[in-house]
Amino acid sequence: MPPDADESMPAERSVHDLGGASGYGPVPHDPDEPPFHADWERRVFGLLGAVTSATARRPGEFRYALERLHPDDYFDNGYYGRWLAGFEVLLDEYGIFEGGADVAIRVAQLRDVALLAAGRTDLIPTPVSSESPSRRVSPVADRVPSLLPPDRPVPAPQHRTVRPELAEPPRFSVGDRVVAPAPTQRSHTRLPGYVMGKPGTVVKLHPAEVLPDSTAHNRGERPQHVYCVGYDAQTLWGDDAEANATVHVDLYECYLTAA
């Protein structure tokens, strides 16, 4: 992780909350980049449906598993490495493979077969052990989220997360000045750290959605109006800001108060 001594940012950020973090270099850009770089990435992608059907079925739950990963597991093998680590965490937490022991044993067996085929029997530990590293992960937050809005019935969903309308009218209108205070404790949220506490302007209302801060923790759908909030770059980054830039972030109504 880069050093993040930047005073414009909240002191404690989760591993995934990268917007505005300092210390990063050039984007590894390739205009013709293919979707996969190795066959193992294909296999990880192909397993998403199977793993989430058996484990993280609620909106936000898979993302929350990734957000709890150790930085090494989050960054070391890129996007699909992150998914693979998340799969292992979820399969373990849901007890699909009896506490992860099955995975460790199978990994050791596959490795030993490969070593045997390569004639490197000297590297095979005796007896076969299950020393393969397990994933380091933060536990699911137990007291959170503390500031959830009330749950309420909604029209039958057209989609899994997006709701066409809510009975309650939106609290804010286009042009309103709003601010999203920093949450008091860390749990799943879609509020990026770099806009916490900064004033912005509502530029548009999106369709309502279920609240991932709640569904990820199995606390009900608590659907919310969703606002596209525009932040002047100067407001976010101060004197370092580039001129003539606006950053738009989509925020759930319960994140916001009048600025």
Binding site: E41, S53, F97, R106, N244
Partner: protein, 208 residues
């Protein structure tokens, strides 16, 4: 993460921490438990590697370039257009199209994960999911775009869209000069993936 990691890159079956060996173990176990079907895994991979890709979004943009009514509908209510065209798939529950214009340039990111309109653009490239792009493009968009080969005038407003809800964004690049009279199929070849994320302009017609 500016340092070089010394571990995690020995991708072979001799190393119990390598992703190759760990995903093989997971796949085997899920199949043995009846929780995964190898044919479905293969079909999912084939679909996203070959059937869905930037050409879907490129055709949408090219048609909007040649049909002002469609362009208006796409900018006002992309969901209705996407539904009417029968486009389906993941990550497009709600889509918004942002049109570039003289003096306005749009660019899309997801700083919290890597949200992307899969059914319109295919799976995102690694660079879009990289910590470098996610960290920097909200803070120094002009510098990042310039490094990626796109210089913007100082008086062009940069509008960054951070995909933090279920809304997915697609940028409609400006139609290049010198393409008058081109049919949509030919125009679509100019509409690159990068141009629909907002890190490039549409391709130069002279190069086609």
């Amino acid at each position: 993460m500016g340092d070089e990691h010394t571990h995690g890159h020995h991708h072979d079956h001799h190393d119990a921490s390598s992703p190759e060996i760990r995903v093989e173990a997971l796949e085997d176990l899920l199949i043995e438990k009846g929780l995964a079907d190898p044919e479905r895994i293969d079909a999912t991979i084939r679909r996203f590697e070959h059937d869905i890709g930037p050409m879907v979004g490129a055709q949408l943009v090219a048609q909007a370039w040649t049909d002002s009514g469609l362009r208006q509908r796409l900018l006002a209510d992309a969901d209705a257009v996407v539904a009417a065209m029968g486009l389906r798939g993941p990550e497009i529950e709600h889509v918004e199209v942002k049109a570039n214009a003289p003096g306005i340039h749009n660019v899309v990111v997801c700083t919290l994960c890597s949200c992307y309109p899969w059914a319109l653009l295919g799976l995102p490239p690694n660079w879009y999911k990289s910590p470098e792009y996610r960290a920097r493009v909200v803070r120094e968009p002009r510098a990042v775009l310039a490094e990626m080969g796109l210089e913007l005038d100082a008086d062009t407003e940069v509008r960054i869209w951070d995909s933090s809800s279920e809304t997915r964004f697609l940028v409609m690049p400006e139609r290049p000069a010198g393409t008058e009279g081109w049919p949509a199929e030919r125009l679509a070849e100019l509409v690159t993936r990068d141009s629909m994320i907002g890190v490039a302009r549409a391709a130069d017609p002279a190069g086609q």
